[in-house]
């Protein structure tokens, strides 16, 4: 028995298993330690997104978005925030992208005053920032210019208008050539945020 055990411990099989186990254990331990050290929390992720949108850190208050209020014909609202400068920040996902995919965006609604002081005024869309997408392989073709297009029609938007990718109607036409389906999803995302803002922030007044 002793001889068999000795032979086993001296065998190549034992050496292979031991070395592999040692490598796996050391790797696992190293990854666990680094995971703790380099963990990125949800708050940090959100702060980064805000910094990307505003170029500085801002304080926010999260607004509750119920499941029924979140779903619209053109997309879904994921989250809404009120920032310390009085603006509203809405994250929405637009449907109708290439291959049934979606595009998620942040839309900043520029506002003045506060509802409590009865001097609240909506000034228009300040910024549209891309967040992520699903199945949109041509999304990189959409340039910054297309996103700025949403911020230059505030007069029509304040008058109740919305965006479209179909030319010829009353709505504001905007399309990025070469990535028309992805730009349709972006337009749907902005329209969704717009519909939510009108219905739940303005209370259906616009």
């Amino acid at each position: 028995m002793k001889a068999k055990l000795k032979a086993f411990f001296q065998s190549n099989v034992f050496r292979c298993v031991t070395v592999l186990l040692a490598i796996v254990l050391v790797s696992g331990a190293l990854l666990s330690v680094c995971n703790d050290l380099l963990f990125v929390s949800a708050e940090e992720r959100f702060a980064r997104t805000l910094a990307k949108i505003y170029g500085r850190q801002v304080e926010t208050t999260q607004l509750s978005v119920s499941a029924e209020d979140a779903v619209f014909a053109e997309g879904t609202v994921n989250a809404a925030y009120l920032t310390d400068d009085g603006n509203y920040l809405i994250q929405s996902t637009g449907n109708g992208g290439y291959s049934g995919g979606t595009v998620t965006l942040w839309t900043v609604f520029s506002c003045e005053g506060s509802k409590e002081a009865n001097d609240f005024k909506w000034l228009g869309i300040e910024k549209v920032v891309y967040e992520s997408d699903r199945k949109q392989s041509y999304i990189s073709k959409i340039k910054k210019k297309f996103y700025t297009e949403f911020t230059v029609h505030n007069e029509e938007i304040l008058a109740g208008g919305k965006f479209t990718t179909a030319a010829g109607g009353d709505d504001i036409y905007t399309l990025s050539a070469g990535a028309s389906r992805s730009s349709a999803a972006i337009v749907n995302g902005v329209n969704t945020a717009l519909a939510y803002f009108r219905a739940h922030v303005l209370g259906g007044e616009a």
Binding site: N12, R15, C16, V19, L20, I23, V24, S27, L30, L31, C34, N35, L38, F39, V40, R48, Y138, S140, K141, K143, G178
Partner: protein
């Protein structure tokens, strides 16, 4: 000794350039070369993993039994790539986001496993480190060059700076990536072949000159031999 290290470095950078000569790591080269910054970021990431994996594997080459060397290499490379992912997500989130799925795919990059198997598992640590850095830098230069070409024609910009409002969509697409890759390989081979031919001609000329130098007279040679005896 210095020549040995210079040769290893030159091999990794030019003679056996992973991307243009050995056509390794093609997935990353095609996927991440739509912009110069993306290509450069991917190249540097691969270089870091390659350097660390080569050093670790070379250090452990006498410990790891031959029968389990491939799974051991894969575990080491996967650990390093996961560490790199964590570090990039924490400190360089923009680069992390732009690399997307191609970052974890570094684990299965045949160039890294190839260098581990062909070089690091047989050579000392310093040699392996030089090989890792030079192969990685060769890959980085290749990806950045492809990125510059594709970004310039596909988006009309250079390292993210918009130069003109004109672009050829083909270069930003997957077929454009294959086209650019093919053109780069052809140009690289053309240049290296020409340089090699010129060097060979020079060597042949130098050899011929040395052969045509006058030989000492036979009597003198006999005298010298006698003196030696």
């Amino acid at each position: 000794m210095k020549n040995k290290y210079a040769k290893i470095a030159f091999d990794g950078l030019i003679t056996n350039n992973a991307s243009f000569k050995l056509v390794l790591g093609t997935c990353a080269a095609l996927g991440m070369s739509s912009s110069a910054i993306g290509g450069f970021g991917m190249g540097i990431s691969v270089t870091v993993v390659l350097l660390l994996s080569n050093v670790l594997i070379s250090m452990l080459r006498k410990v790891i039994p031959s029968a389990v060397r491939i799974p051991a290499f894969v575990v080491i490379i996967a650990t390093l790539v996961t560490l790199l992912r964590m570090a990039l997500e924490k400190y360089m989130p923009d680069l992390y986001d732009s690399m997307g799925v191609f970052l974890p795919l570094i684990v299965v990059n045949c160039m890294i496993l190839g260098r581990a198997e062909a070089f690091a598992s047989k050579q000392p640590v310093l040699d392996s480190a030089i090989d890792g850095v030079s192969t990685g830098l060769g890959f980085t230069v290749a990806l950045t060059l492809m990125g510059v070409i594709r970004e310039f024609f596909g988006s009309g910009s250079f390292f993210g700076i918009e130069l003109f409002d004109f672009s050829i969509g083909f270069f930003a697409s997957a077929p454009g990536a294959f086209f650019t890759y093919g053109i780069c390989i052809a140009l690289f081979l053309l240049i290296t072949d020409n340089v090699e031919k010129t060097a060979r001609k020079k060597r042949a000329r130098a050899f011929r000159v040395s052969q045509s130098a006058p030989l000492p007279a036979p009597e003198e040679t006999e005298k010298k031999e006698a003196e030696t005896c």
